[in-house]
């Protein structure tokens, strides 16, 4: 039981680490929250289901899911940056993402319906039975953890050593100044958003290989993502990354402790944990953990 919950924690944390990282990058560049992103994650995870239904391994759906996620996310960025250029304020941009999230939500349901009616599956699905086993553990455990850590390491090195990486740091701080210096900000921002979309596709596939997915779960994704971002620091992508691990492991810890004290069935209340953590963090370290650590170092 505990082993199963540990796998829970690792897969959950790894997938949300990738999601929250991308989410924060989006937040920094557009100044508002992209309500549509969680819906994209769920939409792309249905590709994993599709691949399984036609007899392939769900891992093979990763390129497709990533590509679709990337294209959808890039489209959202194009719409948002167009509206920002026209002078829309942050409320309007937020409502724009809301509108797009409704469109994607409806589309996900259409997709889910279509698959379930033509292939005889259920709308709620989980693909753990299609996973392979390695050392007695499900493959997604290794894939998700290694992917997320590898991504973090590579991106960190990229930002430090590579000219383009420094350019991205520059864009994240001051887009117009980077533009003045000849950085092709449009290209790099397009690439950044595309990559966050690919991360969503990847994360969606991983999530569906351990947990159950249905369209309406987007809001649970959303709650976890924003909690991870607030805990880590809303303008610190690597903070959000670690925040996701804090959220994931806290959820599982809560289930273990509450099941022992109160009884089974407490797992259903797991989505309260991220929000409770946020409330605590907001009083201890309002700007997030990374900021608190930096402040401590300075003093």
């Amino acid at each position: 039981m505990v082993v199963s919950l540990l796998i829970d924690a690792i897969v959950l944390s790894s997938t949300f680490a990738l999601l929250s990282f991308g989410f924060t990058l989006q937040f920094i560049t557009i100044g508002t929250i992209n309500l549509a992103q969680p819906n994209i994650v769920i939409f792309t995870s249905y590709f994993a289901l599709l691949f399984c239904m036609v007899g392939y391994s769900p891992y093979l759906s990763i390129p497709v899911a990533s590509l679709v996620g990337g294209i959808l996310t890039l489209s959202i960025w194009k719409i948002l940056s167009y509206m920002k250029k026209r002078g829309s304020d942050s409320n309007t941009l937020l409502i724009t993402t809301l509108a797009i999230s409704l469109i994607i939500y409806g589309s996900t349901n259409v997709f889910a319906d279509y698959i379930s009616r033509t292939m005889g599956t259920r709308r709620i699905f989980g693909l753990s039975i299609y996973d392979f086993n390695f050392l007695g553990m499900p493959g997604v455990l290794f894939f998700s953890l290694i992917s997320s850590i590898l991504f973090a390491l590579i991106f960190h090195l990229f930002l430090k050593k590579c000219k383009t990486g420094i350019a991205i740091k520059a864009i994240l701080e001051d887009q117009s100044l980077a533009e003045i210096h000849g950085v092709n900000t449009e290209l790099l921002l397009n690439a950044m958003w595309f990559i966050t979309g690919c991360l969503s596709g990847l994360a969606g596939v991983f999530y569906s290989m351990w947990f159950f997915v249905q369209p309406v779960v987007w809001i649970l994704f959303f709650v976890r993502m924003i909690s991870a971002c607030i805990i880590g620091g809303t303008t610190k992508p690597f903070g959000s990354f670690f925040g996701a691990f804090i959220v994931g492991f806290s959820e599982v810890l809560f289930i273990i402790v509450s099941s022992n004290i109160i009884g089974p069935g407490m797992a259903a209340y797991r989505s309260i944990v991220p929000v409770a953590l946020v409330c605590i963090i907001l009083f201890i370290a309002p700007k997030g953990i990374i900021e608190a650590i930096e402040k401590y170092r300075r003093e």
């Binding site: 508002t32 009616r117 607030i230 809303t234």
Partner: protein, 337 residues
């Protein structure tokens, strides 16, 4: 015709409910610029309190067998209470007023409590934190059976049973009254100096602050006031449909639709909001009815609704961001000595 009259009442009911909720949201958003996406927490609170408080109280008042549980034995208790309520108009009205009072107080309390962590967040995160809290409450409501019957929901007795054959008119009439009161209050508020202050805060909070006005306090007052109104909507909704279902209080129906109505109708214009409400409700009804005629698609046609709504909002934001009825410039009535 029977179908026609039912449709008109249907539209009227939803128009009244959504108008009240949208006006409350609009007070925050259109006037002070606070977009509270998580406003659906308040109708939820209203509904939950309605499920928890008045009828258990009624069971005590009417000496219903204490071995019966309001939730576990819901159908039986509802039948018994309906009987009693039909014969006790004063108690019914008393229970209703008491519930409304409790709902208003609790909603205001929750709004005040949430503002503490909320104000430590910045910008966009502030706007959606309430959504996260709302989802938590919804999860509790869905999982914890004794509140409102979990995923199945609860039936509730008709608190207007004493009206006899017209018991179905009662909740609708109450909704209409509350709608009228709220509309008058909000219009009066918005044409007053306080209303101009709110608009000023929306345009440039910093400038207003430097003029010596306490912006945070004003925003808090508005949030508390509109949260109470939103909570009432939850109560009215449940009274009309005679059921409390946690599932029903979701972000789509009680937040996103309202935002769509405001965007369509016109931000900053209360009459515009009402037009937005009416437009979207009629569109929804049309789409609902058309489901009976289009059956050959490989998916449930209901899912085209969010797609259509999202597209509509997007088009309005891009091509007509002022909405159907744009905001009127602020005028000050001449003082006649």
């Amino acid at each position: 015709m029977v179908l026609g009259s039912v449709l008109i009442i249907d539209i009227l009911v939803f128009f009244l409910l959504y108008s009240i909720l949208s006006l409350a949201l609009h007070l925050q958003f259109g006037y002070t610029g606070i977009l509270n996406v998580g406003i659906y927490i308040y109708p939820m609170i209203g509904g939950f309190i309605l499920a928890i408080v008045p009828f258990r109280l009624a069971m005590i008042i009417f000496n219903v067998d204490p071995r019966l549980d309001f939730v576990a034995d819901n159908p039986i208790v509802v039948r018994i209470l309906n009987d009693y309520l039909a014969r006790n108009p004063l108690t019914s009205v008393g229970l209703l007023l008491f519930t409304i009072a409790v709902v208003i107080i609790v909603a205001m309390l929750v709004s005040w409590l949430i503002s503490y962590p909320l104000l430590r967040l910045e910008g966009a995160y502030q706007k959606i934190f309430t959504l996260a809290v709302a989802e938590c409450l919804r999860v509790i409501g869905l999982q914890y059976f004794p509140i409102a019957g979990g995923v199945f929901g609860l039936g509730i007795p008709n608190i207007f049973k004493w009206l006899g054959d017209f018991d179905w008119v009662g909740p609708i009439a109450l909704t209409a009254c509350i709608f009228a009161i709220i509309l008058l209050l909000i219009i009066k508020l918005c044409n007053s100096p306080f209303g101009r202050l709110l608009k000023a805060i929306r345009e440039n909070a910093l400038a207003v602050e430097s003029l010596g006005k306490d912006v945070t306090k004003t925003q808090k007052i508005i949030m508390v006031f509109s949260s109470a109104i939103a909570a009432l909507v939850g109560v009215l909704y449940c009274l009309i449909f005679m059921t409390v279902t946690p599932e029903a209080f979701n972000v789509d129906d009680f937040s996103f639709w309202c935002i769509a109505m405001i965007v369509l109708g016109g931000t900053g214009n209360n009459w515009g909001v009402l037009i937005g409400v009416l437009t979207i409700i009629i569109l929804r009804r049309i789409s609902y009815i058309s489901r009976n005629y289009i059956t050959s698609l490989p998916f449930d046609i209901a899912w085209l609704e969010p797609i259509m709504l999202g597209t509509l909002i997007l088009l309005f934001l891009i091509y007509r961001s002022t909405g159907i009825l744009p905001e009127k410039p602020t005028t000050i009535k001449k003082q006649v000595n």
